[in-house]
């Protein structure tokens, strides 16, 4: 579907009246982005699938409550995803399950297919480090790098000002640098 054919306001209005086809359009537009977010936050394809389904089910059930008060629909969806992922982490910590450190490899966009199937040791270490960061810092990095969002867009999702996001990002980079130094890990240039 081209951008011209897609009018989010109209689609949202129809979807909030229970139009499943309209909700289907929203699904097609956002499913990969939400899956990416959940995949990096959970580190598990099966749970990412399950949680992505639950994000859209919840969105479908509550879409009547969504009103555009300066928060775009995508931000609303990410907030649902964030809450469900937070619950998922809480349940896992209660059950004392073994944390998943190694993110299963899925093909990334834009790279050569063969290159996709290999992740360097450095990347694995960095991913492990990211997954040990506080949730809001993980969110920030995922939204910035995976979803390619601006600080303003991230702020809308995280309910923070653009300046606060910028500052949090800088602190996150410093924290990662300190951790790398602690572990004597040297990220060499590619």
């Amino acid at each position: 579907m081209t951008e011209l054919e897609y009018n989010e306001e109209e689609v949202l209005a129809l979807a909030s009246q229970g139009d499943r086809e309209a909700f289907g359009q929203l699904y097609e537009r956002y499913v990969e982005r939400i899956f990416n977010y959940v995949y990096y936050r959970t580190g598990n394809i099966h749970d990412a699938e399950d949680l992505t389904a639950r994000v859209f089910q919840r969105a479908m059930n509550h879409i009547k409550n969504y009103t555009d008060r300066g928060v775009p629909f995508s931000a609303w969806l990410y907030r649902i995803a964030h809450n469900l992922v937070a619950n998922w982490h809480r349940d896992r910590s209660r059950k004392q399950e073994i944390p998943l450190d190694d993110l299963p490899i899925l093909p990334t966009k834009g790279d050569h297919p063969e290159r996709n199937l290999v992740r360097s040791q450095e990347q694995d270490s960095l991913l492990r480090m990211i997954r040990k960061l506080p949730p809001e810092r993980q969110n920030l990095l995922i939204l910035k790098f995976v979803e390619n969002m601006s600080n303003a867009e991230i702020g809308a999702i995280m309910n923070r000002s653009e300046g606060a996001v910028k500052s949090l990002y800088h602190r996150t980079l410093l924290a990662l640098r300190d951790q790398l130094e602690d572990q004597n890990l040297n990220l060499e240039g590619e």
């Binding site: 499943r20 289907g24 699904y27 499913v31 990969e32 899956f35 990416n36 995949y39 990096y40 394809i45 990412a48 699938e49 992505t52 389904a53 859209f56 089910q57 479908m60 059930n61 899925l106 093909p107 990334t108 966009k109 834009g110 790279d111 992740r119 450095e122 990347q123 960095l126 991913l127 990211i130 990095l141 995922i142 790098f145 995976v146 979803e147 390619n148 800088h170 980079l173 410093l174 990662l176 640098r177 790398l180 990220l187 240039g189 590619e190």
Partner: protein
């Protein structure tokens, strides 16, 4: 001067971390069958949807009305049979 140099090194370090983050945190493509499965799951009515349907008072009114009418018909038929059976006896 020395401080400026250390700031510069720090900035370079952060740039290097950013570059590695960009190389590590890349958007992934979920398998197409996963997307299909998800679509199937989402189209199924959920529990809360069923609850919502039950909360629809108009529908409930018709459902209750229908059930009551049906029961009345059954009771009337039972009485007719009872009456006829009594007369024969």
């Amino acid at each position: 001067m020395a401080k400026r140099k250390s700031d510069l090194i720090q900035e370079e370090n952060l740039d290097s971390i950013e570059a590695h983050l960009a190389g590590t945190l890349k958007p992934v493509t979920p398998p197409s069958e996963l997307i299909q499965r998800l679509r199937g799951r989402i189209q199924m009515p959920t529990r809360s949807e069923i609850t919502l349907r039950l909360a629809d008072w108009r529908r409930m009114f018709f459902v209750l009305g229908g059930v009551m009418s049906g029961m009345l018909v059954l009771v009337t038929l039972a009485r007719v049979f009872y009456y006829m059976a009594g007369r024969k006896g």
